[in-house]
Symmetry: C2
Subunit: 274 residues, 2 copies
DNA sequence: ACTATTTGTTACCCATGGGTAATATACGGG
DNA sequence: CCCGTATATTACCCATGGGTAACAAATAGT
């Protein structure tokens, strides 16, 4: 591929006063390899996060050392600092991915139609399923106080937004008659509490699939406040795909990326550090 | 009141060969002062636990240092080692107190009458209220992996017992017809999850009292699976007393003590260390 | 082939905090 | 008054682990 310097030299040889800012042979953009390097970098970055979130969940943030994370990736600790400023930033990025996934759920649910109760059920299912994945668990298992002041503010704000979504759907449901009158705040706490707790007890290898848990919880948690009884019990076979971790393996990375902008001040995809 | 020394001297004065091992005036047992010393010790021990549980909740177990705990008690770190073997033992004892309180709830609920649903509601209320107290929060906010192998086993066993209580009440309720047929395991997870989550969001100074939260949750969490609708909404004014922390201030320390034996291998009240 | 950049390594620093040893003080009992 | 015990203090040890500096190897572009 022609590069700028070669082009420039040939121009000098020909004694033409053509400006180097307009190279002739441009068949292959010099930007492509740069992009591929950047992508390789991002893939490594995400590999770090996958290893980190697993270790943080397995052992707890404080017991899991950066040496552990590095060892799992067959590198050494200082290499991690090519991708992250420090341990707490890794934690934040794990949390951030989880939050992007939640924001997807909320966005899609809000965009879709249906009554307040329908929205609440849809969000409940998707949120429950998310809680059975690593990045979903990040949202409820990690301690905000391990983050820097700045990142903690971001997370707190985002958490309030999630809580608001539940409350809003309940309030909408009360307004449109699909939900029995109740205190939206406490009802949201009750539902979100049950769902969040999934992230504490669910084990991927157990007798229950994440999808089965999600379906059951969606019924259980909403039947108390629903005006309609919903005893149809749709018996569609459990979907195979897993949200979160698993789906990120198959190359469809736009899923998480799409909502990156909506995830508040999350600075993911900010590129290199130095 | 005559003291032992005076009595002894008068005996010698009378030149009687009476053995000092059988003093005449025994109106005050020499064991009393020893007992009082032991009680003073136990009071200090519990003061340490109160300070510790507060700090562990405020800052998290790993960020809270033993120096912090000691400073709050106006002593220094090594003094703590007169009462505990180490930091993880303090954590375990905090957890242990919480567990004794839960065991009280379960014991009283099981002893009392009523249908399975009644028991479930009773336990739900008491458990929810407990989750608004410091020692109650210990049960769900502290990480088992910070405990020693031995103590972790104890805690895990006890946690399973708590879970079992919820499941059993639900199963009883299904059997006696007070609860709709459902999977007791998942229903228990759903209810206990909501309740446990209270320990994460409840702030004692907020707009809601622990009792109000407990009443509301007991209704919300059981109305979905109850066969009877229970729309009487008993409007009795909220009780004043707080379970846990507060009630321990008023001198009725038998509350926690009574179930000490039932709390599994909890070695509380084992007295001095050395 | 040559050079600059990226990415990784080895070897180190050092703040933190749990835990201990030596020691001083208070106190009850004889 | 003296002694033993309990309790507290000061002064330390040291393993841990996050973070950094200096340097080496891989790689892309020219």
């Amino acid at each position: 591929m022609g590069n700028i310097r070669a082009t420039f030299r040939s121009q000098c040889d020909n004694s033409h006063a053509m400006d180097a800012r307009f190279p002739l042979s441009n068949t292959e953009s010099p930007w492509l390899p740069f992009e591929s390097r950047r992508r390789a970098r991002d893939e490594k970055r995400e590999a770090v996060l996958r290893a980190a979130v697993q270790l943080f969940l397995e052992q707890g943030y404080h017991r899991a050392t950066l040496n552990d994370v590095a060892k799992r990736l067959n590198i050494t600790k200082p290499a991690l600092y090519n991708y992250f400023r420090g341990k707490d930033e890794i934690l934040f990025e794990c949390w951030s991915i989880g939050h992007e996934l939640v924001d997807d759920c909320i966005g899609e649910t809000s965009a879709g139609g249906g009554s307040g109760l329908d929205k609440l059920r849809k969000l409940t299912i998707r949120y429950a399923e998310l809680m059975t994945t690593d990045y979903g668990k990040s949202l409820v298992r990690f301690d905000l106080r391990d983050l820097s002041e700045h990142n903690r503010k971001i997370v707190q704000t985002a958490k309030r937004r999630i809580d608001r979504a539940f409350r809003d759907y309940i309030a909408i449901g009360i307004a449109d008659g699909s939900v029995k009158p109740c205190d939206p705040k406490l009802a949201a706490f009750a539902i979100a509490g049950s769902l969040n707790w999934i992230g504490h007890w669910f084990q991927p290898g157990g007798e229950l699939t994440g999808h089965a848990v999600a379906e059951e919880f969606a019924i259980r948690l909403t039947e108390g406040i629903a005006t309609t009884s919903m005893r149809k019990k749709a018996d569609k076979p459990p979907r195979k795909g897993n949200v979160g971790n698993a789906s990120r393996e198959d190359g469809s990375e736009h899923h998480a990326r799409a909502a990156a902008g909506a995830a508040g001040q999350s600075k993911r995809a900010r590129g290199r550090l130095r």
